[in-house]
Each structure stands twice: as structure tokens, then as C-alpha cells.
Symmetry: C2
Subunit: 313 residues, 2 copies
């Protein structure tokens, strides 16, 4: 596929490492078998509306031209997606409470022996996103890309609970951590949200973005207290499928930041809005359907809608 | 007490009918026996920072000079508080989830036979707040004050579940209804929040304010869709006691609206912020302690803090 990839600018590209997978999803709105999914997929598609994106992942023999085409349509560099014998990562989830995704069945398949390899062509990426994978791998990728300017990452309850020492090493090297309420409290071992957020900041990340599902997101920073920022979520008439909403948020947030000449506090605030906007689109259809079909015009229209919804004047 | 009440302007006063009571409160931060409480108390104290307030309620022989002094200190007109034989309304609550108050024990006492009487001096009030009481009484007060310009009200799950026909009559005559997420869904019989909100608007209120506890509040309006507005909550390092936060929100919201020469969409937006601010103060100490000790300077400082927390520029 690499022949089809256009020549990119040397700067403003994000490299993302994470899962490219299949999801079987059941929500109150219906069921879909084996949708294209995975954190790196949602992140890449979402971020691709703002900047160049390069993916590092592993897939099996069941990942073919149709799946490649989804990335190619958004001009995402997939030279870092390793194709190997076996089946791709498969996750099954049932979601009745639409605020938090519950993965119920997981077949790691080729992901079980994933050894991220970074193409030479990715080495000039200035932005790195470590999606939710084994912190040992997150750290390895981070160390293999010493030249990056800004590193953001995600994690989940499983790594917090059973792989905390490795995770703490990753946190030390993060500029931005994006997790949800429950993960924040679990990581800090403190049920008070604000206290927990400050404890997490003390673990290394300069910025913490806590996602609250239908209630928006909050940004905390080790900079001045005044830089704390809240974005409520948009009002959706119907939430079809929240799978990937968090990764789409991360893609919008980090993609927008990477597109800016400087990562100022004002840029972080706008990034929160773009993250919220991308997360809201993700929920409107199953899997990546809505994100695939988006235009930048729709994104900006919704950004202004969010501004209208939250601003006094 | 009426001799101590200063002469008031004929306009811009709110009459509120509701409970003036005692609360025994236990939260994760501690316990307080027989605090001064009740929806009309929290509402009045909060609204008194913005406009003149007049209360209609009933109390027993256990309500004396110390309690009167709390209202007098905020220049609240208590001529409509009827003193009768027996004990005041007493509520006991234990709150471990700080998002929603759970009243566990209720002794209606003198409140069981409450027949609101409206002092002649209240009849020129242009604003009326019907706090959470029997909808039959809410309606009676509403009909006895035909000259009011704007009527807001509250209710709770008990009235929605077991007294719906009477409640629906009240809703027809409301300009503004303030309830929480659960009540909105219960009233509409719809678990989808946005759909539920629009169903409730169809029942009569021109404006619906839904309170989300630590996640802020959302305003819906029968005016243009563009008037929908979200205020996140302020970040509190510690929530000591959320009792009365909803009524304090209502007091800030409606008090601010009543203080404005015109109730424009922009005024409603600012009112959402003032409501949020007053609700946040209420949580900082047990009962009405924090609200009693407030200054308008502190309120305006926090209003600007909320603006900082939510605005892009």
C-alpha cells in the first residue's frame, strides 16, 4: 500500500501506536458484527481531519483491501501496520449504559505477540500518541522516538489495576494523559475527583484530560490553575454507539493541537472543543461509519454549535 | 417580626412558597442534627443576594428567634411564614453518593395541614417560585397570584410518581421548571435525555432547567433551538454537603432573572451561571452555613471563575 501514500510534509504529523481491530458491538440500538475498530483506527480517522497521521499496529490475514481503503481514503500512512499470520484483534462489547464502554470478549490473536516496529519514514513525526495498549509497548515506542515534541497517551482500568509499575514509567514521559473519571480515581486511589486529578498530574503528565462521557470533559494542567477548562458534551438526540468515542475525542484533541503552530493554553481550550465534537460524531452511527463520512465543514459547524451552547455572549 | 421588615420597592420581588424545615444530615464528611433547612429557606437565602424575597411557609413552635434572625439578616420578608402549634417539618438524610440527595426520614408535622396564606403585602410580587411541595398547593398559590409576570417551580420523584395529574396542571402554568436528570426522564417516561427534555417542554413550561449535580445544568427552551445552554459545575476540592444545592441553584437562577430589567435569552444564560455558582457555595459547608456567610463580591468572583473555566477566549 505504501506506493499509494502521498508525500507528506516533514512536520505536523502524528504517529500513533495502538490497536487496529474488529469489534462486534451490541447496543440498545442494534448489533454489528466485526466492524473495523480499535483505538488506533478511531484515533487516526479522527485526527486525519486536522493533520497527517501515521499508524503503527499489527493485523492478521483477515485485514485486507477493504480495510486498507478506509485509511487510504483519509490519506493515513499505514506503512507501520504490520501484516502477520493469524487473525486480527477482536473485541466484543455489549453497551446498555451508553456512558462507558464495556468490552466483554477479547481475542488478542496477532496482538498477543505485537512488537511495534517504527518505519524510518515515521522518525520525523513531532507528535506521538500512545493509544491504550500494554504500557511496556507504549514505553518502548516512546523511547524509540526521542525526537518527538509532544507525547499524549491513553490507558484503561486493566493496566492501572494489574500493570501499575510499568504504567507509572509511561506516565513520567507523557505530556498529556487522556482517561475517564473512573480511571482517574482508580489511578490516584482517591474517590474525590479533583484531588484524584491533581494526584495523577503529580505522576508525570503536564496535562490531564478527563472524559466524562455524556457530561463532557475537563482539562487539568500543571501550569496555572486558571488553565483548567471544561467542555460539556453536545446534546445528541440519539446515541447509537459510543464505541470509539474516547479515541475519536483523543484524535480531535491531539490532531487539532498538532495542527497549530504553537501549543498555547488557548489552543488546548480549542482542542478540548474539537475533541468533544469528534467524540459526538462517533456516537451517531455504529463503529467508524460516521467519522468516515465526515467533512471538515461539518466539524467546524459543530464546533460553533458547541460554542453557542456554552458561551454567555 | 413584620415591624423589622424594611419598606420594599413594589417591583423585582420574588414570592416563594415551600418548606422551611429542620434537616438532620449525614454525609461522608460528618453529621449535623436539626440544621435550619427546607427548600424555601435555601431558595430565599440564595435569591436574596440578587433581589427582594418574600416567603410563604408554615413552622411549628420549635422555630424561634434564632431561625428568624437568619432570614432577617438577609432582609427576607417572613410575614408569610405561619407559626402554628406543633413541630416544624423535619427531614433526615444520609448522602454517600454526593450527586443526589436521598431523604430517608420525613416528619411532615405542621406541614401535613399546610394551607398557604398569602399576605396582602406580597400581592405586588412580579416573580413567583413554587418550591417542591404538593402540586395541589403549588397550583393554589399560583392561582391566588394572577398578577405575577414569571413563575418558576420545582418538583420531585414522589409527586411525579404518585400525583401526576395534579402536577401536570401545575406544569401548564409554569414559565420555568427546574428539576434533575432522573426527574426529567421519569416525568417524560423516556430514558433518552434529550427526547425526555422536549417532552417535558410540551407539558407547559417554556423553559426547562435540568440539574446534573457535579456535571452542571442544561437549559432547554421552547424558543429557538439556539437558546439551549449548558453550564458545567465548578470544580470543588471537597463537597461537604450537597443538601440544598438544587434549591440554592434555583435561588441564584431565578433571583438573578428577577433582578434584570428584561428576561432576555442572554439574561437566562447568565442566570444559569449564577445558579451554578450558588449551588457550588451551598456544597462547601453543612446546611445553609456557607450561603449565610456569603458576600456578593464572592458570588461575582466565582461567576468570573466559571466564565474562565468554560470560555475559549
Amino acid at each position: 500500500m505504501s506506493r499509494k501514500v502521498r508525500v507528506r510534509k516533514a512536520t505536523m504529523s502524528i504517529t500513533v501506536v495502538g490497536s487496529v481491530a474488529y469489534d462486534t458491538i451490541e447496543t440498545t440500538s442494534g448489533k454489528r458484527e466485526r466492524c473495523l475498530g480499535g483505538a488506533a483506527t478511531y484515533f487516526s480517522l479522527s485526527a486525519s481531519f486536522f493533520t497527517d497521521v501515521r499508524v503503527i499496529a499489527v493485523v492478521g490475514e483477515d485485514f485486507g483491501k477493504r480495510q486498507e481503503a478506509v485509511f487510504a481514503a483519509r490519506n493515513i500512512d499505514t506503512r507501520g501496520i504490520e501484516h502477520t499470520a493469524g487473525k486480527s484483534f477482536l473485541a466484543g462489547s455489549y453497551l446498555d449504559n451508553l456512558n462507558e464502554a464495556k468490552t466483554e470478549v477479547t481475542d488478542l490473536n496477532v496482538f498477543a505477540s505485537f512488537e511495534p516496529r517504527i518505519p524510518a519514514a515515521y522518525s520525523d513525526s513531532e507528535f506521538l500518541f500512545l493509544a491504550n495498549i500494554d504500557p511496556v509497548l507504549q514505553r518502548r515506542v516512546r523511547e524509540a522516538m526521542p525526537g518527538v515534541k509532544l507525547v499524549a497517551g491513553d490507558t484503561m482500568n486493566y493496566w492501572i489495576k494489574d500493570h501499575k509499575p510499568a504504567l507509572l514509567e509511561v506516565l513520567k514521559g507523557l505530556d498529556i494523559l487522556l482517561i475517564n473519571d473512573t480511571e482517574t480515581k482508580m489511578l490516584a486511589g482517591n474517590s474525590n475527583f479533583v484531588q484524584a486529578a491533581h494526584s495523577v498530574l503529580a505522576m508525570g503528565p503536564k496535562t490531564l484530560v478527563v472524559k466524562h462521557g455524556e457530561y463532557g470533559a475537563t482539562l487539568f494542567s500543571t501550569a496555572a490553575e486558571a488553565s483548567t477548562f471544561k467542555s460539556p458534551a453536545l446534546l445528541l438526540d440519539e446515541v447509537i454507539d459510543p464505541t470509539g468515542a474516547g479515541d475519536s475525542f483523543a484524535g480531535g484533541f491531539f490532531g487539532y493541537l498538532a495542527s497549530q503552530p504553537e501549543q498555547t493554553p488557548a489552543a488546548y481550550r480549542r482542542a478540548m472543543f474539537y475533541g468533544t465534537v469528534m467524540g459526538s460524531f462517533a456516537c451517531e452511527r455504529f463503529g467508524t461509519e460516521r467519522i468516515q463520512a465526515l467533512t471538515r465543514q461539518e466539524i467546524d459547524a459543530r464546533f460553533h454549535q458547541l460554542r453557542e451552547l456554552t458561551h454567555l455572549d
